[in-house]
Amino acid sequence: MVTFTIDRQEVQGEEGQTILEVAQAAGVEIPTLCYHKLLSPYGACRLCVVEVVAGGRPGLQTSCTYPIEEGLEVLTRSPAVVEARRVVLGLMLSRTPNVEAIQDLAREYGITEPPFPTDTPEERCILCGQCVRTCDELVQAHVLNFSERGIERRVGPPFLEKTRLCIGCGACAIMCPTGAIETVLEQDAVYREKPLGPTSAIWVPSLQAVPRVPVIDTDACIRFRQNDRSEGEIADACGACQTLCEAGAVDFTQQDEIIELDVGAIIVATGFEMWDPAKLSQYSYGKSPNIVTGLEFERLSNAGGITGGDILLDNGKKPERVAVIHCVGSRDHNAHEYCSRICCMYSLKQAHLVKDKTGADVYEFYMDMRAFGKGYEEFYERIQEEGVMMVRGRGAEVEVLPDGKLRVKGEDANLGRVVQVDVDMVVLSTAIEAPHDVEQVGAMFGLGRSPDGWFAESHPKLRPVETNTDGVFLAGCAQGPKDVPDTVAHAGAAASMALALLDKGEVTISPATAVVNEELCSACKTCISLCPYTAISFLEDKNVANINEALCKGCGTCVAACPAGAITGRHFTTEQIMAQIEGLFRLPVETRVEEVEA
């Protein structure tokens, strides 16, 4: 421990700490501008000067850089210190007269007007170098630095030219104490589903998330992205979240854990994904921030979302006219031919929300209104009574006008003509589809898919939750589009069937299964990949294939395919088939021949 005095009070600090660090911990106020606890100290703004009166280098020294020494005596508000801060602030204010942070600080020292003439009233940069050190030490992109010297000194990338080395993280803009840096997105900002709008790489997915703790998106996180750049070496970049977390809860070393369980039943409930409406360019999705998908609208109107539940355009104002277009990507030969089932009802709900929250005019462009459930038709009527305008005809095209308004064109089949309406916001009731990895998941569980891409149930009418693989069940949209009440029913059914299976403790299987003759098996593994029911596994220790009787459906594929002839289909053995053939041949032949001739 090092003991010294600040303003004649004894204080203590650790070897290697600076005067400022100890002062702040002791509650002594010292103004700073170029200092930040996450960055190495710089000593340039000179605001944090204190007077060393004994025990060290005498005179005004920057407390952010001066290492504490035993016996040091420091004054933080001596006349020399106050005078220096006052003049320095006056000089700074004259350089950047319109920066609020500087105005506030200067006012504390009695300065209300810039004391010196200024020829740069729009200047906001005070050359504190926080952005430079952030980019250099935290982000480690090393893009920003100072150029020129003296009053020409300025911050920027090399030669003040745009560079691809800038990863657009925006850290510099966040750290800048005077708001001198603006991040500009090169392309139009596009709202993404979760959450709406750009976010930092560490975020709580939603206020209703369980558990409600932040997660790190390793594709966006600077530290992980720098891992890629440093060719696998763990980069020491940023880590600001870990440094700032007082609970010490951030652990960058967490690895994926692979858990192996032996189970008797599996329920596949892998849900759906939103189809990407950018695939049909006539809807102009991505060309305006005010064209959103149905799910994005849900987020917008959610009280836990970025607008607190207000329906707002990207300019922060409420829309005056909104169009909702049904069947975007559904019932479409160029996209998905099926009906996504859920959109009509949520579109009506969203129309109601728009009316309720903004009073805007709402136009629903629909083909058929699928209000099939309990209370659904009644709701549809109510929405019409609220004054939502129903246009019976698919919204064909959305055009982004130069002033930002959106022109929706479609056919009004009731009127028999093409109509168009200029609105402020368009909600695309986008199709839902099977998740992008449905093929891999299917292969894992031996699940087939129906032509519309969803997982195949055993029987479309009679077995909606079972699959051709015994013990694997489907729940929810994994099997096909359905809304919440239907999903609840479907999932309940799957759970019951799984429970029933487990509860029985035994399974009844058909005796007509295949069996491997271990002495003949040559371990070629041909049968394993052919089995549609993933019933065959390979025993490493015995070096032979093995058929799970519970899974085998006796289809005979492996029997036919085995090159060594090692697999026998029970009750369909060669001998039995040959006997059946011989039996056929023993039938009186003459009679049959005569009948033919006649």
Binding site: R46, V49, L60, E83, V88, E148
Partner: protein
């Protein structure tokens, strides 16, 4: 060339090849000399040697003839035949080429009798202008590398440091910190890797002390650095040379090469087991890189921005390692101290400032050049005895010491002994030895403005007080010199000056207000004249002066009328001419061309 060959020559003709003499025609003269010597078949008897500067720069090209010790001034190619015939062959002095005393015009042919040299004590500069700097043999012949041999063979590193401490040597870069003490810090800092650095950046405009040493006696610096490295425990040294010194770079590089060949640099120097290498880094045109932390940043390849101290370089310097950095002149003192002893050294100079100091005496003196004098000599002796007094019989007004951040000292302090403490008390600094003499034609307000302008350009811009404070002080001074000053400006100027001095990050900012503060202290009346009377008493500030034609002197020759670029002068032949003040742009051409001193500046 070996020393044995030197014995066969009868005469050595030393030709100074420093940039000043070069500009005055030394190369052509040397060429002529060599051809004449060849033509007269004297090549076996007469040796022509190129040397560094001997310091007498206003009189170049300089030729010194040894062993007689004759010094010829302003020798041109056309003078060569006479020099060869009269002096080299017949042994007679060519009087017209010798130095003449300004008042009596008496010829002083012999070098050590010239007053310019008489009062000097050229110990650090002992070899400059005497030996060929490209020849290590000549350096050794005059006693070079004896000190290094002594240090490595019979002294321990601690003994070397003790000797330097005892000598009282203080850093010659300007701050004047006791050198031995500084070496002690670096020695006792923990760690195996340490560095030493020689600061050859010499950014002060008009300063050429380090340059002359690096050009004229590079081995002295190398030897000093090697001794220092031994004392501190460093094995790598760096010399930072400003890029505008190509000759210094060439000569230092050649010297390093030769020292390596002779086993005086590199591994196992002189068989002592001590290794030491020296590298040279070139500057890139920034005054601020003369500041030690900025210099080290520059060596590391980063931009030359200073950083706050502590930690000091002795704890954390180059690449974070303990580093001892000294000025080139300081290093050149070391071989002398080890060779002749600390006692000898400490007898020269004053109680607090030991040894000699090299000054570049420039400005309005008759003898401008490089002078080396013991500390404690008075300003009067420097300027009048050595400098030969003020040019054109004008009056001494002030002398600025220490470079662009130095203070201006007035006439009533002419008997001030020149040492660190006295200069500081007078409001100036020793700096790296600049001494600019000013006469009554110098405007002190303009001087302050001029140097602030320089410092504004050279400020690195990192800290607020220096970057913004100097800019605002300059704006105020400019307004004052343009006749738009107010008395309140003086108070604001002083406030700014004190804060810039107290709160700046590095020495550039901390010393920048010196010209302002010292001229305000000693020449306040000039400021007041500019502000209240809107007049420039020295006749310099254009907005405040007026050119008029004196009635009794004007002959009506019309020369000024014809030369005036604004056609502002009117008058008839043989009649008094008149300047139209509305049109006059104060260019001063009329003043310069008038042969009758009829144009007055007020």
């Amino acid at each position: 060339m070996s020393t044995s060959k030197a014995e066969q020559y009868r005469v050595d003709v030393l030709v100074c090849t420093c940039p000043a003499c070069t500009k005055a025609g030394a190369p052509e003269m040397e060429q002529a000399l060599k051809s004449e010597v060849g033509r007269r078949n004297l090549a076996d008897e007469v040796r022509v040697v190129e040397t560094g500067s001997r310091g007498f720069c206003s009189m170049g090209p300089i030729v010194i003839i040894q062993p007689e010790g004759i010094l010829y001034c302003q020798v041109g190619a056309a003078d060569v035949p006479e020099v060869v015939e009269e002096t080299l062959v017949k042994g007679r002095v060519v009087e017209r080429l010798t130095y003449k005393e300004p008042e009596t015009h008496k010829a002083v042919p012999y070098y050590d009798q010239i007053p310019f040299y008489g009062k000097q004590m050229r110990v650090v500069l002992r070899n400059c202008g005497l030996i060929n700097p490209m020849s290590i043999e000549e350096y050794v012949a005059v006693g070079g590398y004896q000190a290094l041999a002594k240090a490595l063979t019979v002294m321990t590193p601690e003994e070397v440091i003790a000797e330097v401490k005892k000598s009282g040597l203080r850093g010659r870069g300007g701050a004047g910190f006791p050198t031995g003490r500084k070496w002690g810090f670096a020695r006792s800092a923990p760690g195996d890797v340490k560095y030493i650095v020689a600061n050859g950046d010499e950014g002060d405009p008009g300063a050429f002390m380090d340059r002359s040493l690096m050009e004229g006696d590079p081995h002295a610096i190398l030897e000093g650095m090697t001794i220092g490295a031994y004392a501190i425990g460093a094995h790598e040294g760096h010399i930072y040379v400003r890029d505008e010194y190509p000759l210094a770079l060439r000569n230092l590089n050649a010297a390093i090469e030769q020292a390596r060949e002779y086993g005086l640099l590199g591994q196992d120097i002189l068989g002592s087991g001590f290794d030491f290498e020296i590298k040279i880094t070139r500057g890139a045109g920034a005054f601020v890189c003369g500041e030690e932390t900025a210099l080290m940043a520059s060596i590391e390849g980063r931009a030359g921005n200073p950083r706050p101290r502590p930690p000091f370089p002795a704890q954390s310097g180059l690449w974070g390692k303990p580093t001892n950095i000294n000025n080139a002149k300081t290093w050149a003192n070391i071989p002398l101290i080890i060779d002749r002893g600390a006692d000898w050294f400490s007898q020269i100079g004053t109680e607090t400032s030991k040894g000699t100091m090299i000054f570049s005496l420039v400005g309005k003196v008759n003898n401008t050049g490089l002078v080396e004098v013991p500390m404690g000599i008075t300003l009067r002796e420097l300027i009048f005895d050595i400098g030969g007094g003020i040019q054109d019989g004008k009056q001494f007004k002030a002398v600025q010491t220490g470079g662009p951040s130095g203070g201006c000292i007035p006439a009533d302090l002419l008997d001030l002994p020149v040492d660190y403490e006295h200069l500081k008390d007078a409001g100036s600094i020793m700096g790296s030895g600049g001494m600019i003499v000013m006469d009554e034609g110098t405007c002190m307000v303009d001087v302050a403005r001029y140097f602030l302008d320089f410092l504004k350009e050279e400020s690195c811009g990192k800290c607020t007080p220096c970057r913004e404070g100097i800019r605002q002080m300059l704006a105020i001074l400019t307004r004052i010199t343009e006749g738009e000053g107010e008395m309140a400006d003086l108070a604001q100027l002083e406030t700014l000056a004190h804060v810039v001095q107290d709160a700046s990050l590095c020495g550039l900012g901390q010393t920048a207000p010196n010209p302002v503060l010292s001229t305000l202290r000693y020449f306040r009346d000039e400021y007041v004249a500019h502000i209240e009377d809107k007049k420039c008493p020295a006749g310099v500030c254009r907005a405040l002066i007026e050119y008029t034609i004196l009635e009794d002197a004007c002959t009506g020759c019309g020369l000024c009328r014809r030369k005036c670029p604004q056609e502002a002068i009117s008058g008839e032949k043989k009649k008094l001419h008149v300047i139209d003040q509305e049109k006059c742009i104060k260019c001063g051409v009329c003043f310069d061309v008038c042969k009758f001193d009829a144009v007055a500046v007020r």
